[in-house]
């Protein structure tokens, strides 16, 4: 596995760099180095969404930036949080206490991200959350010490639900993962569907996680709803879609709406089972020339096309490094302010900007999964149908419960 060798080599290089005494230390850069921690699930459920590939993306950003800021080298530490809030929070605490890490990136499982941002707030650090879905991260859990990049449940649920209702899918049956995250998603979708003139005719809350969805699919079929909405994520969504296709859900006239589904899920499920699925995404590798160019470079490193999270990690790391360079310091507060001053327009984010609640808003896209006949390759999976402008995509600040927002 060439990819693993590269990670290994990179890690060794990083270790070597960090152990060297840096004599050319820049005055305003603490310890003479810009130290970035990459914390993600490297071995569990979210491995394919961010995982080692996200680290590669971060390393690409550092290399493209030139490996140093104003003469101070950039160093990456990385760790596996194993999807445990415990492990994640402790790792970050130690990074700050022992290694003076300046920024923590990656951050996938919502529970880990919330725990880590609390630690960052207490220690005046800086975090960029790229992988998490929970919109609460910049709502009731917002802090002045972190930014949420890429996406959250609000645009995903809203974008998809609104588009589906507009296309005539006005009666819904919801399959909800039975925990806080699923409930929040369910509430969001319900309000959007109803606001647009649709109705929720039924639903079922299934345990998290569930591997056998046949019973629930049968209930959905019995409900007579036009749309079966999946208010769950990861393996649950994948299992639900597989089962739905086995039970001929779409053949019998119903349609699936995935509220939280990613490129790696669609890739794993295959087009046969997912064709026609509507979804909202923050980015797609094949959406334009710029994205394709970056993705092909990424593909050469990893052998896979990047997910929006992996692309977002590159984008956020780049934006962070530019802010450090412009501010001339890696002091978290100053850099955070600098990052918010600059609009973000790169291969990943269009019309991007950082709000006072820490939410990075940018254009989102409504996509539909291609049919097997349309697809020309392993990774040719989506048709981008329309753009949801940044200002409309995310939860409006007027609804915010974040104490940083003055209402």
């Amino acid at each position: 596995m060439t990819f693993m060798k590269k990670t290994l080599a990179a890690s060794i290089a990083v270790a070597a760099a960090s152990s060297m005494a840096i004599s050319t230390a820049h005055a305003e850069i603490s310890d003479g180095e810009v130290r970035i921690g990459y914390l993600a699930d490297m071995s569990g459920t979210y491995r394919d969404l961010a995982g080692p590939g996200g680290q590669t993306a971060m390393e690409m950003a550092v290399a493209d930036f030139g490996g140093s800021v104003n003469g101070s080298p950039i160093v990456i530490f990385s760790a596996d949080d194993r999807n445990s809030a415990d492990v994640g929070a402790n790792t970050v605490r130690e990074w700050i206490d022992q290694r003076n890490v300046d920024m923590v990136g990656g951050l996938v499982a919502s529970s880990v991200s919330i725990a880590v941002t609390k630690v960052l707030q207490e220690n005046n650090g800086l975090g960029i959350v790229s992988g998490s879905a929970a919109s609460s991260i910049t709502n009731e859990h917002c802090t002045p010490n972190h930014i949420h990049w890429v996406y959250d449940t609000y645009p995903l649920a809203n974008g998809t639900a609104k588009a589906v209702v507009e296309q005539g899918g006005d009666s819904w049956f919801l399959l909800t993962a039975d925990y806080a995250f699923g409930h929040a998603l369910e509430a969001d979708v319900t309000s959007v569907v109803e606001a647009n003139g649709g109705e929720i005719v039924g639903g079922v809350r299934h345990p998290f996680p569930t591997s056998d969805f046949s019973s629930y699919i049968l209930q959905a079929q019995g409900s007579g709803a036009k749309i079966v909405g999946l208010a769950n994520a990861g393996a649950d969504t994948v299992n639900a879609i597989t089962t739905a296709s086995q039970f001929g859900l779409t053949q019998s006239g119903q349609q699936l709406a995935g509220l939280l589904i990613f490129l790696n899920d669609v890739h794993a499920l295959g087009l046969e089972a997912t064709q026609g699925l509507l979804l909202t995404t923050g980015w797609y590798w094949d959406m334009d020339e710029e994205s394709r160019a970056w993705s092909e470079r990424y593909f050469e490193e990893t052998g896979r096309m990047p997910t929006m999270v992996q692309a977002g990690i590159y984008s956020s790391t780049m934006h962070y490094l530019k802010a450090v360079e412009a501010a001339g310091t890696d002091d978290p507060e100053t850099v955070r302010a600098k990052m918010a001053e600059e609009p973000i327009n790169d291969f990943f984010a269009r019309n991007g900007s950082i709000r006072e609640d820490g939410r990075m808003i940018h254009d989102m896209y409504l996509a539909q999964v291609k049919t097997p006949e349309e697809s020309t390759g392993e990774w040719d999976l989506y048709n981008i149908l329309s753009t949801i402008p940044a200002a409309e995509a995310y939860r409006p600040l007027s609804d915010s419960q974040c104490p940083l927002v003055q209402n």
């Binding site: 039975d178 079922v204 019973s215 049968l218 597989t242």
Partner: protein, 295 residues
């Protein structure tokens, strides 16, 4: 529409059918565990991982060697079962004389190794295994649409269960096996190669897990973690049935599938938990399980 307990008749019947399909599947998996425990007194915590290896072997066999589903259904249990025999011969045998708990811990460790290794090579998203052409589509039962493949799973799993039960309870080989584990010295004195018999039995139990894995491959995404969540459920089934009782494992598997299926209609939130509740209740009333003999 006729209603049963506040649910339309058709939905109720549909759920019952699905419960039976899942139950047959549980039966097959718990059967392997029961054979291994009943005859060898090994608490096989690697059973989930061996089931997963079965599914993976089918997937990789198809991908790299072009082995089709039907061939896999025969070959994979043999290959994975053979691998199981190596495990028994070189690892489990060394601790056979000790407390059963050591067997549990050893197999738990092995399960961690198998899963962790495969995660590193294949990730966790899971891969699709195509349903064989002849089993695609579905049957209209009037009250529901049943995918043909699930009907096949029900038939295949039940047939395998019956075959195993017959082998162990009704044939000479089975009699040797039961006798060999009851009193191995005596059997050895009669010229029966008991250690070989034990290795074969373990291999057979593992083969059953792998067979279930192949059956599951077209149903669920094939991923390294597919066995670990199933494992404790299947364990609960075996405990409820009475550890070591072959018939108990089969009947309890079917029963639990149905109970779980109905829970999914009336209180879906608890459907993962209901089995444990049943288990506690059963053990309160019958300490050795429904079909087990009091130790």
């Amino acid at each position: 529409m006729t209603m049963i307990f506040g649910v339309p008749m058709a939905v109720f019947m549909g759920q019952l059918t699905l419960g039976l399909v899942n139950g047959a599947f549980y039966a097959l998996l718990s059967l392997g565990l029961a054979v291994i425990f009943g005859l060898l007194k090994i608490v096989n915590f690697a059973h989930g991982a061996q089931y997963m290896l079965g599914a993976f072997a089918a997937l990789l066999g198809f991908r790299y060697l072009g082995i089709n589903y039907w061939l896999a259904l025969i070959l994979v249990p043999l290959v994975v079962g053979g691998f199981g025999m190596l495990m028994e011969r070189f690892l489990l045998r060394r601790i056979a004389h000790l407390d059963h708990l050591y067997g549990l811990l050893l197999t738990f460790g092995l399960a961690l190794i198998f899963e962790g290794t495969l995660i590193n090579f294949f990730g966790v998203s899971g891969a699709r295994y195509a349903t064989p052409e002849i089993l695609q589509g579905g049957l209209n039962l009037g009250f529901m649409f049943l995918p043909t493949y699930r009907a096949w799973v029900l038939v295949a799993a039940l047939a395998m269960c019956l075959f195993t039960w017959f082998m162990i309870e009704r044939t000479r080989l089975g009699a040797y096996l039961r006798a060999g584990t009851e009193n191995s010295q005596l059997m050895q004195a009669f010229g029966v190669n008991v250690p070989l018999l034990i290795t074969l039995t373990y291999g057979f139990g593992v083969g059953l897990a792998a067979f279930a894995g192949v059956l599951a491959a077209p149903l669920y995404p094939v991923s390294p973690t597919m066995g670990s969540s199933l494992l404790i459920v299947v364990f609960a089934v075996v405990v409820i049935g009475g550890m070591g009782s072959i018939l108990g494992a089969i009947l309890t598997g079917l029963g639990m599938g149905i109970i779980e299926g109905l829970t999914k209609v009336y209180y879906p939130e608890a459907s993962n938990t209901v089995i444990f509740l049943v288990m506690i209740l059963v053990l309160m009333l019958r300490p050795a399980g429904l079909f087990g003999k009091e130790a």
